[in-house]
């Protein structure tokens, strides 16, 4: 995205170009000192030299945070003390699933990898990378399903006026969906279906099957061509996991890189249409 090899066309700036521009902007603002020193400073908002500091809540243009954002090439963001934003902290230890049992978590991890094409002929990731991806997605799905109970409770506890307003703005169906959000039985019944079916077809547990067999089971409940006899518990579980894999993958660093996402970037000029319309 912002590395030295990024294509600098369309006004999209490479890291080096942007740092030079930050230097220009810094000079325009009247800051003294080298840009390198400014970038190394802790997160404070400088005021122009010679002026009284501004009262709390007011601020001068600053480049420091941009440099911080530009430097950030990792998964984790610096967590400012007192921030209301829920940043993801680096993990303190191995992940412990909170909704799924450890063995069910393993199944979800495997399914997430298969949905993305792990181990297939056209898989674009090395197996080690795919494992990590599956882990991240399973953690996301664990959080997503765990959160449902709290969402349901909060939606059901809405004051009548707030509920009426939500229904007026988003539609009655939208608020009912929140009030009835229940992915938990979909997961439990879906996982049970998987085990029953693996035993019935192959006389083995799902996790003991080869990837090709697991993939075949997923095909039978996939949204591609649903056969009339396809079990609805399996299909509902497939739909849930696929939806969460999409949400979890395409908001991940790997997914955004794969999409070649050109947003959340730094442009020197308004990114408009370049070619013939």
């Amino acid at each position: 995205m912002n590395d030295e090899s990024s294509n600098p066309n369309h006004g999209f700036l490479t890291r080096r170009q942007w740092l030079l521009r930050l230097g220009e902007a810094t000079a325009l603002l009247g800051f003294s000192g080298e840009l390198g020193a400014a970038l190394a400073q802790p997160s404070t908002v400088p005021s122009a030299p010679g002026n009284q500091p501004l009262p709390p809540g007011l601020y001068e243009p600053s480049t420091e945070h941009l440099a911080h954002a530009y430097r950030s090439d990792g998964t984790y963001h610096y967590i400012p003390p007192g921030a209301e934003t829920d940043y993801v902290p680096p993990p303190a230890g191995p992940y412990r699933p909170r909704f799924f049992t450890p063995s069910d978590f393993d199944v979800v991890r495997r399914i997430a990898g298969l949905l993305l094409g792990e181990g297939g002929a056209h898989s674009i990731h090395a197996s080690a990378g795919a494992e990590e991806l599956g882990q991240t997605l399973a953690e996301w799905i664990d959080l997503s399903v765990l959160s449902a109970a709290g969402i349901r409770r909060a939606a059901q506890a809405l004051k009548p006026g707030h509920r009426a307003l939500t229904a007026a703005v988003d539609g009655e169906e939208a608020i009912r969906r929140l009030e009835g959000l229940e992915p938990e039985p979909v997961c439990r019944e879906g996982l049970a279906w998987l085990e029953r079916t693996a035993h019935a077809r192959y006389q083995q547990k799902f996790m003991a099957l080869a990837a090709a067999q697991q993939t075949e089971m997923l095909r039978s409940i996939s949204d591609e061509k649903r056969s009339p006899g396809a079990a609805s518990a399996g299909c509902r579980f497939f739909d849930l996991v696929k939806r969460e894999v999409i949400r979890g993958y395409y908001t991940s660093r790997a997914g955004l890189t794969e999409l070649d996402y050109k947003g959340n970037a730094f442009y020197a000029e308004s990114p408009g249409c370049e070619g013939p319309s």
Partner: protein, 566 residues
């Protein structure tokens, strides 16, 4: 109840630190007045509160939001498109800030309470009003005119645009005058397709939105770098918000005192129908205090300023300061919109990602019921359109059947190009749309909450039908795949966050609350400078006009001091 009353008397108190308050404070302090600004909310700290350039994978819910917390604490604010996992900190806790509305008349009241008000999260669209708005009543017979004209406001539009920086294209339109613009932003490929189709079919002008984002460095602020995350805060101050633009200008005069966390409950009135200052509650300690000034300017946001006035009672003004004629609180307006028109531009499907990040889309200015434009006698006044067009990021994956490497390849390489449009229409000012104090509901500081009663009428419904017909014709011109037309329902009142009126301007004290310089007819040293003072609303965003009026009022107040009239 103990009330602390410091001895100092300021020249002016300004209540509210947003678009209006910032301009008033700047004008007053630059002209030599000592100003105390009171802001109900806390200061925001950029390094703590801004989230620009944070990636979705760096926040707990990947940008989809902590829905339990939003439902529990911000059940109203979460309905706003701009209140999300990255920006919810700029919006109020709905339980601390309650309000009520009658059954069957839902009102969506979106508020930001902090130093800067809603200027962190506004959409930055900045269009001038003309005498089509200021003198609409003279032209079509409904309601009353503003007591000011475009000619009187033009120099203040110039002043505001020149200082804050507004990017836009020069179009030479009578209905929406060109301003003091920085270079316009560019349109996306899809937007150019729509523009071509609309211009060919209708001959209508399609242009980039005029937005208060900098396309070149301006007054010491760097140009925008097009991350399109303005509502998360902006370290480089490349769009207008008051904490980085107008408030620092006031602060640099050395005559500006800012008191945050000060929830103003009412203006203090003496027996001679003059204000002595304001009464406020400390947001954190709940201590009651009063501060004194020779003039009071209410710039707390349309409905909040009116709420303060309604709560400012005395023997002389039992129904609130400025309410001797029963007009205060009435003639509430908000634009209504038809949303959800659009489709897929099939010929722009691509395997290659386009650059993206413009914090603006395209605008089609009002044509219906304008001089020289098509006339529709089914309704008074008119509407405009805006929209945008861009590649889908991954939304198409949800409806793509299958899974695995080939499915992923399709998501990656068969990128649909979508476009969407909405239409925004003018709401007529009606007495029956009003706010009043709710005697049974108080906020977290014991201050009576508002009861808001508003609904759209026959004019809006007739206009909506025409808007929808036009949206359908635009779809027919553009011919997208998967075309969908906006449903018939008008948006919920308040949803467009352009609430105006309730303390309207006018020359006649019997039918208005403030005069041509925003001074209360009833109390000569109290002013209301925000959207509450609007007499009509047009179909364009109000904030630029709020700022122009505030700059003018600030200048007038300072001149009044100089002439010894205050």
């Amino acid at each position: 109840m103990q009330v602390i009353r410091p001895a100092k008397v300021f020249d002016a108190i300004v209540v509210g630190s947003g678009a209006s308050g910032g301009w008033v404070a700047k004008e007053l302090t630059e002209r030599g007045l000592e100003v105390l600004m009171l802001e109900a909310g806390p200061p925001r700290v950029p390094t703590r509160d801004f989230t620009e350039h944070v990636w979705p994978y760096q926040v707990k819910f990947r940008g989809f939001g902590d829905r339990e917390a939003l439902l529990a604490h911000q059940p109203v604010q979460r309905l706003c498109y701009a209140c999300d996992e990255f920006s919810h900190q700029f919006f109020v806790d709905d339980h601390e800030h309650p309000y009520t509305f009658p059954a069957g008349k839902p009102f969506m009241w979106i508020r930001g309470r902090q130093v800067g008000g809603k200027t962190f999260c506004w959409a930055r669209e900045s269009y001038r009003y003309t005498d089509n708005e200021f003198k609409a009543a003279s032209r079509d017979g409904f309601g009353q005119d503003w007591p000011v004209s475009y000619a009187e406001l033009e120099p203040y539009y110039d002043r505001v645009e020149s200082f804050i920086g507004v990017s836009g294209s020069r179009e030479g339109l009578e209905t929406m005058p060109d301003g003091r613009f920085l270079p316009p932003m560019r349109l996306s490929c899809g937007s150019l397709r729509v523009k071509e189709a609309v211009e060919r079919r209708f001959g209508w002008r399609v242009m980039p939105d005029r937005v208060a984002n900098l396309t070149v460095p301006h007054n010491g602020r760097p140009a925008c770098h097009y991350c399109n995350q303005c509502q998360r805060g902006c370290f480089t101050a490349s769009y207008f918000n008051s904490p980085s633009v107008t408030l620092p200008a006031a602060a640099r005069t050395g005559r500006f005192t800012l008191l945050s966390d000060a929830v103003v409950s009412h203006v203090t009135l003496n027996s001679e129908a003059k204000a002595g200052g304001v009464h406020y509650v400390d947001r954190n300690t709940h201590a009651h205090r009063e501060v004194r000034a020779r003039a009071v300017v209410l710039a707390a946001g349309a409905l909040e300023s009116t709420r303060i006035l309604l709560n400012s009672t005395s023997t002389r003004f039992p129904n609130g300061a400025g309410n001797s004629q029963g007009v205060l609180g009435h003639y509430l307006m908000d634009h209504f919109t038809l949303e959800g028109t659009g489709g897929i531009l099939g010929s722009l499907q691509s395997a290659k990602r386009e650059p993206t990040g413009n914090p603006c889309g395209f605008l089609i200015p009002k044509v219906v019921n304008t001089r020289g434009g098509p006339q529709n006698n089914a309704f008074l006044r008119g509407y405009r359109f805006d929209g945008d067009a861009s590649q889908e990021l991954y939304g198409h994956a949800f409806s793509l059947p299958g899974f695995g490497a080939e499915w992923r390849r399709q998501v990656r390489e068969e990128i649909p190009y979508g476009f969407g449009m909405m239409a925004q229409g003018e709401c007529l000012p009606r007495y029956e749309n009003f706010v009043k104090l709710d005697p049974d509901t108080k906020d977290a500081w014991g201050i009576p909450a508002l009861h808001i009663s508003a609904s759209y009428g026959e004019n809006e419904k007739a206009m909506a039908a025409a808007m929808r017909a036009h949206l359908g014709e635009i779809l027919d011109a553009v011919k997208p795949e998967n075309a969908h037309l906006a449903p018939e329902e008008l948006s919920v009142f308040g949803k467009n966050i352009h609430e105006c009126g309730t303390a309207r301007m006018g020359d006649d004290p019997k039918t208005s609350v403030v005069d041509r310089f925003n001074r209360l007819h009833d109390v000569k040293n109290v002013f209301v400078t925000d959207g509450a003072a609007f007499t009509t609303q047009g179909c364009y965003e109000p904030t630029l006009t709020i700022m122009a009026i505030s700059a003018r009022a600030g200048e007038y107040i300072a001149e009044s001091f100089r002439r010894g009239e205050v």
